[in-house]
Symmetry: C2
Subunit: 349 residues, 2 copies
């Protein structure tokens, strides 16, 4: 008897199937299935045989074939996570939160990165669906049409039918940062506006404008600079901070678009011989990991990224299983964390 050569790429046929455990206990697959899933049909099987069945299943180390089951019940307990790029500081934390919640629910996720490529994004969304995901979580990606599956977006600020946005309360965020700066005596504040490629930009910017107006802060156009591009490194901010400096307008504080650009800006400012925070205070946004460990440690508006990820996962799952009605928006409160990159203006001290 020749042994069949192990075929490449074959999943090791788990050998122990529902039928094998059925045979072991001398019953049929139907009943075994019923009790193993403790389905309603299992009510009528006596505890004694129930025990025999689970014992047999355990003895054989029976594992239901996931695909056969999915084929029948049409559920996969799998979702798709759509990122702009894997490994950027922002998205990573969100995904970490997502994973943290999903694991508690025995749900898994497929990750894809679209890198701002519309075509890729569209193709991913359909191929993920083919793969059976039951919903999407997007991070920092601009959706343009209603997705085919329930989805919740983190940092995706278009209002789109069918997607619930996890949004930071940007007005509160702006208020936190600006009152901090004002309390430190700053009057000449430079602002960095986000790139059009970042989903958060518009919302954040209009909130800043609104709050500044309300607080009586004059936003001088010469002190406003807009980022361009989607560099995930501090290079995002560096050249624009340089541009700002070239204008020769004095300012004592800079409210950067995010931590990444704040870090880039600080490099530029220091190269220009300015001291942070003595010459200019800079406050970032997000509180990514390196914010605390940068030099100087960054004062920043924290987004509770991990919590946002958890929240996203929870609401997606709730929407999927129908236990939660669709809501278009869920707000999250920011938090100001004061470190060493902001200080009293010299003028006042």
């Amino acid at each position: 008897m020749k042994t069949v050569p192990k075929k490449a790429g074959r999943i090791p046929k788990s050998a122990v199937t529902l039928k094998s455990v059925a045979e072991l206990v001398g019953l049929t697959a139907s009943t075994v299935s019923a009790v193993l899933n403790s389905s309603s049909a299992a009510r009528s099987v006596p505890p004694h045989t129930k025990k025999r069945i689970v014992a047999a299943a355990r003895a054989l180390d029976y594992r239901p074939n996931f695909f056969a089951r999915s084929l029948r019940v049409k559920r996969t307990y799998m979702i798709g996570v759509i990122l702009e790029e894997i490994g950027d500081a922002y998205g990573s934390l969100v995904v970490s939160g997502v994973e943290r919640y999903l694991r508690t629910q025995n749900v898994f996720f497929l990750t894809v990165a679209h890198r701002h490529d519309k075509k890729l994004l569209a193709s991913y969304s359909t191929v993920l669906r083919e793969r059976g995901v039951e919903g999407f979580i997007t991070v920092d990606t601009l959706l343009t049409e209603e997705p085919a599956l329930p989805t919740v977006a983190v940092a995706g600020h278009r209002k789109i039918k069918g997607v619930t946005n996890i949004v930071l309360d940007h007005r509160r965020a702006a208020s936190l940062a600006l009152t901090h700066l004002v309390e430190l005596g700053h009057e000449k504040i430079a602002f960095m506006k986000g790139s059009k490629l970042s989903a958060d930009s518009d919302e954040r910017w209009s909130a800043i404008c609104e709050v500044a107006a309300k607080m009586g802060i004059h936003m001088r156009p010469e002190l406003i600079i807009e980022l361009k591009g989607d560099d995930p490194t501090p290079n995002l901010g560096y050249p624009f901070a340089k541009q700002l400096l070239e204008r020769k307008e004095t300012f004592t504080a800079l409210f950067a678009y995010n931590d990444i650009s704040a870090i880039g800006s600080i490099c530029a400012l220091q190269e220009a011989g300015l001291h942070i925070p003595d010459d200019v205070s800079v406050v970032g946004f997000d509180d990514i990991q390196s914010a605390a460990y940068f030099n100087p440690p960054l004062t920043t508006v924290r987004q509770p990224l991990i919590k946002m990820g958890e929240m996203a996962a929870r609401t997606l799952l709730d929407r999927i299983d129908g236990s939660m009605k669709y809501v278009p928006e869920i707000a999250i409160e920011p938090e100001l964390v004061v470190r060493k990159s902001s200080a009293q203006t010299r003028a006042c001290s």
Copy 2:
């Protein structure tokens, strides 16, 4: 006629099945399947009907049911990525590389994070298998027994049957760093040994010892400090650098375990009033993103993390489809990137 309420959690039954396209062309599912997969059976169907079939499939936007197919052919084109934690700088880059290669092959991946929890790791490995993954890629995780599926490990330095390790050439790395330091005139070099929890530690350390011996560098025990714990933040290094300082032994250079600990160390050194690199040069390891943007930018031994991820994915896929024999190890060349955290010793300048 009442419309059936949309059941929660149901995958939108794709409606268009193999049979529907078969009906459309007036053929049977078998033949349609054959030509759509251009299987050998399709040789005998005339080009004319072939065209009709693919046209029909396209017209209906037919998408084969992934689960039914997997059930039959026992392939999922899905692998599992096992990390220590999602979103740490090191792993993220590797995963980014993994994704980059997988996408070209239409393979997807499930991600899980064990947080150095043995139990969790074991359970993940079995549940991922149930989910149909065809292999594992592990990052910085200590496997203890031969995994059930082909696996390739990056930064997992135990030699284990069945896993091929993507390993940095640590001797070369040590040599790169140490000759750099020696050329700058350093003689009193402090060394930071990795934590036992990090998979790379042992290999890296013994390489350093070996190379140092060969180069005639005396490694004084008073200048060696060992990290403990698995903090993924610069706090990993900070307290140990402090300890080192408390010993009151002078040193002009520090070869940190990695960039993260280098950053933490620099903070500690600066707090002690030392200037980097004038008072002490520090060189890191890995070249994570923030290395370039830290202040001062880190001189470091670069691991081509993205490339390592790509390589891992490629070799795993090759092993799975049988086109590559198992090899226990694949070496990757490091690279020294000199930035601003290292300089001539004062003594010599």
